[in-house]
């Protein structure tokens, strides 16, 4: 029912009515992570004014990230080299109707920051060789791919009548919280002819979120409560055995 309504809305908004080549929006702008969260799908609806390829880029909030490399020291594997990257998207996923290489030339993609290969990652440590930085950068992307936080998936688009589409953006259980942006591009003959950006907010909700938030803001009080709670539990547990 909701899907049908959204479609109707889109039909009404569709480029035939407005002068935009591409119109799209998320059915929800909020994902709440509660206890037992196992991931979530957010549905994107869109309409184009004719044929073309659609690319969707989902980007999570930027964080600083440290990549470390282990090597053998006296028989033990320990971290010996590290490179810090600033402003690394904590989540990055690209969806496209066809492989990116077939849709637009690499130079255009680089200009638009589309695709993992074009992800801008700036290393703090300037004294490292470009080759070393490149190795650490590749390791960062590899690690994030393994955690399912970076992906460039092809497909997943469902087209109706050739101009209306919907797509499920899948977020894993370990998705970082914060402000996300969802960019939608319409590409024709290798050129971006329409674009739109939609915000998405992913937040912790419920008791866990409050505990986490409290532990951050009131670290001292949290520590004291943790101690008192454990001491009480210890005392309570000794009561039934007092006369043993």
């Amino acid at each position: 029912m909701r899907r049908a309504l959204a479609l109707l809305l889109l039909l009404w908004l569709s480029p035939a009515h407005a002068a935009e080549p591409l119109i799209a929006d998320l059915t929800s702008h909020l994902v709440a992570i509660t206890t037992g969260f196992t991931g979530a799908d957010v549905v994107l609806f869109g309409a184009t004014d004719g044929p073309g390829d659609v690319i969707v880029v989902v980007r999570g909030p930027n964080r600083e990230a440290v990549v470390r490399r282990k090597s053998r020291v006296a028989g033990v594997w320990m971290n010996t080299r590290q490179v810090t990257f600033v402003a690394v998207p904590s989540y990055y996923a690209v969806y496209s109707t066809r492989p990116l290489d077939d849709i637009m030339p690499a130079a255009t993609r680089a200009r638009q920051d589309i695709g993992l290969a074009n992800l801008r990652l700036d290393a703090v440590d300037k004294d490292r060789s470009p080759q070393e930085i490149a190795d650490f950068r590749a390791a960062l992307i590899r690690e994030r791919r393994q955690e399912a936080l970076y992906a460039d998936a092809v497909g997943g688009f469902n087209f109706f009548s050739g101009e209306l589409f919907h797509l499920a953006l899948g977020f894993p259980a370990n998705v970082p919280t914060g402000n996300y942006t969802v960019q939608i591009f319409l590409v024709r003959d290798g050129r971006v002819v329409g674009g739109q950006t939609s915000p998405l907010y992913i937040s912790q909700a419920g008791v866990d979120a409050e505990v986490n938030d409290f532990a951050r803001r009131r670290a001292l009080v949290y520590g004291v409560i943790a101690v008192v709670g454990a001491a009480l539990a210890g005392w309570l547990s000794s009561l039934p055995f007092r006369h043993a």
Binding site: V76, M78, N79, N212, G234
Partner: protein, 305 residues
Amino acid sequence: MDIYLPIAAISQDVFVLLALGGVVGFLSGVFGVGGGFLLTPLLIFIGVPHAIAVASSANQLVGASVSGALAHWRRGNIDFHMGIVLLVGGFAGSVAGVWFFALLRRLGQIDIAISLAYALLLGTLGSLMLVESTRAVLRLRRPGAGQRKLHQHIWLHGLPFKMRFRRSKLYISALLPLSLGFFAGVLSAVMGVGGGFVMVPAMIYILGMPTAVVPGTSLFQIIFVAASVTVLQAVENRTVDAVLALVLLVGGVIGAQLGTRFGTMLRGEQLRALLAILVLAVAAKLAFDLTVQPDDPYSLETLGE
């Protein structure tokens, strides 16, 4: 049934955690040891981050030692005077230990430091225990051997700042329990253990305390050192997962009661040999993980929120 651990930011099966707390509690009931030195490595094995495993173990330890100390207090087996001197040293040690922990974390070496410390400590401890229990089993067959003097006075006791400890019937330098407490504080901060397995022998052999008051006094000071470590870790490193600690406590309490009953049915020397083998197995696994070539030499840490 999965439970989300808010600080560790991972989901874990609540029954796995209860069972883990239960097993450690059972062992501590059977063998009369704290069990903290097994809890942290086991948490690491199931995938809890090293730093959070250590700090949450310290949190769990507060409850476990309150429970244990109360039992000893009812029997009058705590030397409070000695306990307070020990824990003054312990507070200083926990501050130094948590600071050291934060430093290692910044350097990106905390995981390896924890694993290495555990592998070394458990390896040494397990070997000593195995030798001791084997000897004890042999001695049983030749009765009459191995009587120890009740109290030996060594040169360490003659250091300055002498203090009288009535309950322990001792007149020794306060520097001794202070530095011993300091050491336990550092251990507790870096490894999340109470240090009972180091403290108990040290209190008997170095301080010369009567055996009867040693476990109670050790547990008494562990309560406060573990509490201090928990608060400091929460403030300095934000690594205390109170939910994890509570679940482990619940499992631990049940396990400890079962363990105490089971322990009375077995012979002490054989028990100690079993524990020694278990401790050595954990040490071997940690050592193996440290020396085997990792699948991917690179690792990633995300900073700030």
